[in-house]
Symmetry: C2
Subunit: 506 residues, 2 copies
Amino acid sequence: MAKKPKTAITPTRAEDYTEWYQQVVRASDLAERSPVRGCMVIKPWGYALWENIMRELDDMFKDTGVKNAYFPLFIPLSFLEKEAGHVEGFAKECAVVTHHRLEKGEDGGLVPAGKLTEPLVVRPTSETIIGDAFSKWVSSYRDLPLLINQWANVVRWEMRTRIFLRTSEFLWQEGHTVHATEKEAVERTQMMLDVYAKLAEEYLAMPVIKGTKSEAERFPGAVDTLCIEAMMQDRKALQAGTSHFLGQNFAKASEIKFHSAKETEEYAWTTSWGASTRLIGGLIMTHGDDDGIILPPKVASAHVVLMPIIKKPDHKTQVMEFTESLAKELREKFYGGRRLGVEIDDRNVGGRAWDWIKKGIPLRVEIGPRDIAENSVYVGRRDKKHTDKASVKRNQFVGEITDVLDEIQRGLFEQALTFRENNTMIIDENKAFYEFFTPENQEKPEIHGGFSLSHWCGSGVCESKIKDDLSVTIRCIPFDDREAEEGECICCGKSCNTRVVYAKAY
Amino acid sequence: MAKKPKTAITPTRAEDYTEWYQQVVRASDLAERSPVRGCMVIKPWGYALWENIMRELDDMFKDTGVKNAYFPLFIPLSFLEKEAGHVEGFAKECAVVTHHRLEKGEDGGLVPAGKLTEPLVVRPTSETIIGDAFSKWVSSYRDLPLLINQWANVVRWEMRTRIFLRTSEFLWQEGHTVHATEKEAVERTQMMLDVYAKLAEEYLAMPVIKGTKSEAERFPGAVDTLCIEAMMQDRKALQAGTSHFLGQNFAKASEIKFHSAKETEEYAWTTSWGASTRLIGGLIMTHGDDDGIILPPKVASAHVVLMPIIKKPDHKTQVMEFTESLAKELREKFYGGRRLGVEIDDRNVGGRAWDWIKKGIPLRVEIGPRDIAENSVYVGRRDKKHTDKASVKRNQFVGEITDVLDEIQRGLFEQALTFRENNTMIIDENKAFYEFFTPENQEKPEIHGGFSLSHWCGSGVCESKIKDDLSVTIRCIPFDDREAEEGECICCGKSCNTRVVYAKAY
């Protein structure tokens, strides 16, 4: 039996993708499970990614006229009940506050006391509580559009959790807008989806398909849910952001009305849109390899680590001076609107470079006396093999670093796009479709189970049959293919002209 | 009877300070009450202040090596109980989650269901849950110091609430650090207090007194609590930030231990420190006047509003072009590390200028055809009388705007400092002390009830007597006066050498 190649993460993606994910989250020091069921601790290396995502999204939101505000964590039960579809969608996963203090119980331990008259739900999303505020803020067409965003934590009590992908508490932003016309609200829904797609593709190097959800997959209470869907390396889909056109449903539930220019009183049209820490899970599963995560330079908090090599004590001064002056020079430079992030790791321990490989830093630089003698540095790129390192003149390294980072950023995107294209099939026959999503029966399972572009007649019956049979869902009705050619529903064979994206999903 | 002068806020500060505060929060559009008991909605104009405070503090924290992370919203009851003093301090104000879903009750409405085995407390502060993570992160002296901060919401169920000053939910940051030695932890406690003092004085233009809390006023579980105390315009004190030296109390409660360089196993030393949206309440009460709030330029999200005056339709193009080119020119400039914030208000309504006065924008600029003919603008400053406006050449206005903002910033600080000094008395006699804090009995109440610098023997009995008699507490033992001259305790007359700050407080 051939010797298994050494990898920093065990098991490898091919061996056990699910377990690989858990191990890579741990090895890269991004986050960990907490003692509170389903909640995570986001560690500094992971939180820095979130900070960068927040800043980038926040700038894009503000460029479209959105302003930030903050609304209460708690939602009175009666508010949640205002929109019937909405409460039904969230009732099964609500954390409920019922008491407002603790007192000594019979056995001396503390027990909840001070029962609330009306229970409070920890927000799973904020349409109803924000709608209540909006009903007071909006009275005339002159108050519109109202464009508000909130950065917040939300809680959805999940039974099966996985760090970043599905946790009981997660961090997100939720945008909420109010418009005078349906047309404007629909345009805003689309505009915010485009913002998410831009973040995903240009910043996280994660190619996405934009589209509309089927009725079954819609946000509870929405008229239409738009989404971006990405393919992970196990060929499953990840929904990476959603933008909802809410019609007048929530305006009616919360009484958001305005006096029009024609002096009539009208219900407003609203939208909501959100993206969350789940994006970090997507980042890991799009770019990670068997040695750890790989950070696209635009979202990396640190771009390069300098590792001085000091084998003899009398080299120390010289090597450290060179290292620190290089760090200083690099920190003067900008990449993607931020200063270059430079770490110095002067721990004299084995495995130092591997720590940074696992953490996904784009560039590693070794600096020893010989490099200094040649005014060079020894550079490794995270997107290449770990042994594939090269000596580069210091000036050249500094001069070209942002170009190299751009090349890495572009390369990661191209690689993910190629992967998705290689694993996306146009399937028009029911038998082939079932085979595609049943890889365990196949000779070559590795080419099965990606995205299938297949026709759907629009019936919920066909949609559930596929879901029940294969655990495969309609990820979206892609925008590009709305005017697709005639074809036959992959389930019932009925003639139709909508080709959708079918896949297993997170 | 003389005619009451027109003010934008009714009542005035002198008439009813408490009601003035509520009205000024409303008129300035900073925040509003929510339908959830004790929780507030922070509106965009108010949240922008918080964003600026966050960015400033975050930069200062990071400059001292602190990194951000995120920990769970929920704390298992058993965790809170680990530190006896701590849980006692917070038990009476905890929101408790007891159920994790909703289901249809007998009357058809939704009721809490899915009872949790162990109730979860919504974090009032996070020492215990973060301590649990730290106990896993720290094993060697090489892991120390560990310097972590979290931006988060917290909940303390308050019975009497007031927007920004005391709300059941508020936004804050909480820093938590772990050190190998007591000395280092004490130094960090002091360092972070200095950061808060710098933010308050240089950024919020709010003079503060730095000092130590008495035992009775300490954070539950702390060995020592340092604080900054500011004087509001009703001469009451506001605690604007605290930094706690926790000794080994929480390290013992959470088992945060490390192997020292000498191979012994030791409990670590920890600190925690926090500042919250309460600072915005302090800002309002330090600088507001009877026309609204006054924003120090360094924290203002917008520095100047341009108000085009269009009396005839055929002036419109010219006036708007001038206005927009001026806005563009101003937005190229920087103030306090940020781009100048420029608003254009082209609403053709009466009271437009008053809206901006109430909102506290530092500079108002009117632009009409006559101004344009002279290449001038007509400028009003929020720190001057609203009628005190002047024509300034456009080039001069643009050239000097950052100097003018600096002058406003400095002026606000000076004014607040003078106010505090004028209302701070050195009082050495019991009778005078009681009179000072009983203004309703006095001929000139306006010179009573500020800060009294008086001796304290260190006894909790004297401290509570003063509190019971006068609702006056020891705000802090100021650092400057630690080596104060001998004197007699203002309560019992015993000889001692500690002069403290006594005041009524928020």
